[in-house]
């Protein structure tokens, strides 16, 4: 009976409910507020864009949710973040590790530094699987091959035994995406996933993210300072400036009818091609 009620409750609850998140950093003995009073709700399968200039607190908010901020110098000042009913900011480190590995996937900005250069791609992919499921090495290997093929890496069986330095930047980011989605997480956090890549590769990686997200029904938080990327990928946007929410709403609303002065200025600053004809 209670089980049934719980299920209904879970269904009604958003996947992620962030309330009044505030983060500060100590720098040169001074405390600086980097994120102030950030609140948002994320439904299953939805894509939310965190947009803003450098230093506006986009990445820090995500790292705070994941418990990956170095504390100190960082400090989560307050707020709550319910992920499937569990407050990520209060839960024990051990429990958070489990949630992070199983139910959340993360793709970081720079694929050249976010893979371990001393370990093979295969062992880095498989370790999460082996740690969080009771899968054996053979089964894990097969699953990894499947995951690499799903992100468009040919000859996956051979490539598993290779080290990151023989992969190109785009390939490494594909590996990161495969790694993040390996355990079918409910939430994918992509922290500027295409910033360090070539423009042509950017487009490939974005469409790959979109197809994999659609195939697995994963919700996504996309951190970006690229308004074009945000427009293409996101259902809803949050516009951050100096750690505060400047504007929030659907992508259409912000792009076609910006309310705040900052959003208007930002959109006006996007370079356009002058009409030649």
């Amino acid at each position: 009976m209670t089980h049934w009620i719980l299920k209904v409750k879970l269904k009604l609850m958003p996947l992620l409910d962030v309330q009044h998140l505030s983060v500060s950093f100590v720098h040169n003995g001074q405390r600086k507020h980097v994120v102030q009073d950030l609140s948002f709700v994320l439904e299953p399968g939805e894509t939310l864009g965190l947009v803003g200039e450098s230093g506006s607190g986009k990445s820090v908010s995500c790292l705070a949710l994941l418990g990956l901020l170095p504390q100190p110098p960082a400090k989560v000042e307050g707020g709550r973040a319910f992920f499937e009913g569990i407050d990520l900011l209060q839960v024990s480190e051990k429990r958070l590790g489990k949630i992070r590995g199983q139910s959340m996937g993360i793709v970081f900005q720079d694929p050249s530094s976010s893979l371990n250069p001393y370990l093979t791609i295969g062992s880095q992919l498989a370790e999460g699987l082996i740690a969080h499921t009771n899968m054996g090495r053979r089964a894990a290997r097969l699953k990894c091959i499947e995951a690499l093929e799903a992100v468009g890496i040919a000859d996956a069986g051979v490539r598993l035994n290779e080290y990151p330095h023989v992969f190109s930047g785009g390939m490494r980011q594909r590996v990161m995406i495969a790694m993040a989605l390996l355990l079918n997480p409910q939430l994918l956090i992509a922290d500027e996933p295409t910033t360090a890549l070539d423009v042509t590769v950017q487009a490939q990686i974005l469409s790959l993210l979109k197809t994999r997200q659609a195939a697995l029904g994963t919700a996504m938080i996309l951190v970006t300072h690229d308004l074009g990327v945000a427009a293409r990928m996101c259902d809803r946007l949050i516009l951050l400036r100096q750690g505060k929410v400047e504007e929030a709403g659907t992508a259409e609303a912000i792009f076609y009818a910006p309310q705040s002065l900052y959003a208007k200025e930002l959109l006006a600053a996007v370079p356009t091609l002058p009409a030649i004809v």
């Binding site: 994941l66 590790g97 590995g101 530094s113 371990n116 250069p117 001393y118 370990l119 740690a131 969080h132």
Partner: protein, 307 residues
């Protein structure tokens, strides 16, 4: 891999030749000779000794003769130890120095690496502070201070270990500690520094994002990279340790190779200087090769560039 080893060993031949040449002429350039003593020998005796050892010949002739001996594996007769060849002297004292040096080396790694890893993991906490302070102290203390201090504290005070000799394990305890503690301090600092550098890398954050346990992150993801500098240090260090420490051997009266280095130089014992220097050179070459192979094993990016 095998190719690399063969190539490096072949490269060692000209290097050793250069070491022999440079040492030979440098030591002959130094004033005095093997039989110049405080109380001068009579000119007839000196003349007879020089003639016996061929020291009256031009340098170039002596040099050619030495190289010829060397090619046959002979390091020549010792001038300072009449009736003994340098080969004999090294054969007697090297095993002692190897044993002392090897124990000290193993001790420094066993103590230094775990403490360094843990200090890096606990950066800025009290454990790290204690380790850093103690290791700095260890670096500042020369062995000729640490040795007598350990003698006083352990042997005299607590009755642990002996203050001199080289027979039982109690004799070995204090010299190994003296030599080992100083090197453990080096290893600790190198490990801590290497680990801190690796722990701040993005891929450590990725590993933690995967929800791996702290131990897995530390030992599977960080240790390899963190130990690279330790390996680069510990290889050549081993060759220095096994060829003996003059100071420690003198303090504890150990019949090792270290004293020959210094005494031979004072006595102008040309052949013994050359012999010990060549041995040290050869060991450094071999240990460096081992360190390089070990680094390549740890770091896949090095494997490509080495072959």
């Amino acid at each position: 891999m095998l190719q690399l080893i063969i190539r490096r060993l072949l490269q060692a031949i000209p290097v050793l030749f250069l070491i022999a040449t440079a040492t030979f002429f440098l030591i002959h350039l130094a004033p005095g000779g093997p039989f110049h003593q405080e109380r001068p020998l009579s000119p007839q005796v000196l003349e007879a000794l020089n003639a016996h050892y061929g020291l009256n010949d031009p340098w170039i002739v002596q040099y050619g003769r030495y190289l010829n001996h060397l090619l046959h594996g002979e390091l020549g007769p010792s001038y300072g130890h009449p009736g003994h060849t340098v080969n004999e002297l090294i054969a007697q004292s090297l095993p002692v120095s190897i044993e002392l040096g090897l124990w000290a080396w193993v001790f420094s790694l066993i103590v230094g690496i775990p403490l360094g890893v843990w200090a890096a993991e606990k950066q800025h906490r009290w454990f790290d502070r204690v380790c850093s302070t103690v290791s700095t102290l260890g670096l500042c203390l020369p062995t000729f201070v640490l040795g007598p201090l350990l003698m006083l504290g352990l042997a005299v005070g607590l009755g642990i270990g002996n203050v001199c000799g080289w027979g039982s394990w109690e004799d070995r305890l204090l010299p190994v500690l003296t030599l080992g503690l100083v090197h453990a301090a080096y290893v600790l600092r190198l490990t801590r520094g290497g680990m801190l550098e690796v722990l701040n890398q993005d891929f450590i954050r990725t590993a933690r994002a995967k929800g791996l346990s702290g131990w897995t992150v530390l030992f599977k993801h960080a240790l390899r990279g963190g130990l690279l500098s330790v390996v680069a240090f510990a290889g050549p260090q081993l060759s220095a340790l096994v060829t003996g420490s003059f100071v420690v051997e003198t303090i504890f009266h150990i019949p090792g190779l270290g004293r020959h280095f210094v005494q031979a130089a004072f006595n102008r014992d040309y052949t013994l200087i050359l012999g010990t220097t060549l041995l040290y050179g050869a060991l450094i070459i071999v240990m460096n090769l081992m360190a390089d192979l070990m680094q390549a094993w740890l770091n896949p990016r090095l494997r490509v560039s080495m072959l």
